[in-house]
Every structure is written in C-alpha cells, then in structure tokens.
Symmetry: C2
Subunit: 166 residues, 2 copies
Amino acid sequence: MKVDSAFSHHNHHQCQTSAVEQARQLCEKNGVRFTKLREQLFTLIWQSHKPVTAYKLLDQIKGSDFSATPPTVYRTLDFLLDQGLIHRINSLNAFIGCCQPGKRHTGTFMICEQCDHALEVDNTNILNAIQKVSHQHNFQVKNYITEIYGFCPQCQSEKDNSEVQS
Amino acid sequence: MKVDSAFSHHNHHQCQTSAVEQARQLCEKNGVRFTKLREQLFTLIWQSHKPVTAYKLLDQIKGSDFSATPPTVYRTLDFLLDQGLIHRINSLNAFIGCCQPGKRHTGTFMICEQCDHALEVDNTNILNAIQKVSHQHNFQVKNYITEIYGFCPQCQSEKDNSEVQS
DNA sequence: AAATAAATGTTATAGTATTACATTATCTCT
DNA sequence: AGAGATAATGTAATACTATAACATTTATTT
C-alpha cells in the first residue's frame, strides 16, 4: 500500500485484495488457519480505511453462512489481533486492518475527526521517545498505542473551502 | 505531586487534597462551578492512581445525596474532562486525575499491567515526534493520547523475587 | 476410524454509554 | 427582592460493546 493511501484516492480494491492475500500467506507461514470465517471478516475490515466496530461487522455477516452473534465476531477479531493482522482503535471501539503485518508493530495512528479514516504510521521517532521516557522512569514497556486526532489533508482543504464560502 | 508518585509510596491523602484544592481554584479562575457533586466525584477519582471506571464511581456514590444513575456520573465526567481535570484511559474505559491541570495536556500514560496504576508523563520528546510525523503527512493535530503498557519499577522487582522463589 | 484439538454455534448476561425529558438550583437583570 | 433565563441535576429508558459458559461441528493426528 502506498504510504498515505488511507487519506487519498487509490485503487482500494487492489489494496484490499493484496491485504487478504498477504494475510493468507502469513497465516500459512505461522501454522494457523485462515478459515472462511476469518477471511470473510478480515475482508470486511479491509473494505475501507475507516475503523469498523464489531457490531457493524456483525450486521454485515447476517445472511452469510455464519452465525451472526457477538462471540462469532469477537473470537475472530481476537484471532486477527493475536496474529497482528488488525489493530484496535481504543478510542473508537473499532478495528482496522494492519498495514504492515509481519513487520514490527508500531501502534501509531492518525485519525481524521471529519471523515473517520485512520492511517497507521510506522514511526521510529515516536517509538524512540517512548522507549526513552520509559527508561527514564524505569518502566518496562510491553506495548503501546498512540492515537492522534485531527484533520487529514483532504478534510482540511474541504473545511477551508466551506469556510470561505460561508 | 512528586514526579513518580503513582508508582511509589507517598502521602496520597495530601496528593488527593491538593488536587481537589487545585481543581477548585482552576474552576473559579475559569468561571465554572465546582459543585458538590463534581467535587465528590473528582475526590473519588483521586482516591488512588488507578484509573477508575464510571460504574465503579457510580457504586461509590450510592448512599450519598446524589442520584446514583449513569447520567449523573457521565455528565460529571464530561465536565471534568472538558476542564482538563481528568483524563480518560481509552484502553481501560477508565478515568484518572490529571497531574498538571492548567498546563498543556500531554496525554501520555504509563500503565502497569500488574498493579493497574497509571502515571501521566509530561514528555516533549513524544510530543515532538508526534508533531513531526503529523507534519510529514500534512495532518493537522488536534489532540493525541499515548498509552504505554508494561510493568512499573515495583512490580518488576516483585516479579523477579517470585521467579527466584519458584 | 478413533482420539484429539481447533473452530464455530448458541444462549445468556455483564459492562459501558447515551438520549430525552422533567425538575431543581443558580445567576442575571431590573 | 422577584421574574426570567441559564445551568445543573434527577429520572427512565435504551443503545452499544464485550464476555462467559457450554454444545456442536470440523479438521488434524495417529
């Protein structure tokens, strides 16, 4: 995926397809099963770059072969989280596909408050800063997440336009 | 409050009392009311350095003069959040007193997975890193939160001890 | 094919948060 | 001080998010 795809026009169908294929390969490599249910939910999560809630996914699998109940969805989400194939955006109670599965997880997201799209950024500066401050406090880091809220480039310019017009 | 108090023994009663007094003054300065209900809930939040959930607070105001229903608590929490007197730890659905009300909010927390205590750290390195990466992506930052999970100094040494004994 | 383990189905419930409207308390202005 | 406006709190209902416990089915191993 191109670096800033989440915030710009791109061939998302290809984006989605390659993510699914990558997930399949990663599961095979890790000796875990990428079942039909897991594939279907993972594909749904990758339908856009907007984080999606468990219950939205639940609605979307109604009518499919699968039992549309919360445990079905949550178990599958847990699996995908464990495999590092998706992330959870805590402030939104929502899930989003991971852009660099297999690579080290950085857990940094820029979330647009206007269009709800989220971009995962792989940033060593933030990681370094976190490790430094943790070390200063003698805190043993296991994991972290940084959620940055604001406006993406596109929504900024749209706001500017509407402000001019008003 | 001393810098690392959340993770070490300290006179917490004084910690709590001064937080309440500081909140009262800040509200007066900002022309908003620090009512009895707000004071009571704020005090409860400051009873420890563990983030506390809304429903735990709800339990604790049962028997008081106030209506122990969710809106009572959530409205008050919203007020305290708006005033920058508390923070919400998204991953825990829990709230914690702000250690530097009035000062610029950094939104960085180290959360111990063993004892559940959380320490708010005011760190320019993280802020700088966030601003840098946002600027790189032409993203307009409004707010952010960094939640760092791991083990605090005390729980690390306790773990070490128990490992030796086993 | 039997035994085992993994995945999914099913029912119930726990935990978190908001909406909408009623009532009470406080503030402002004359 | 009293009327009107505003802010705060009370109340009832409901929406949203997540997990527990146990049953059944499917896949893997031998």
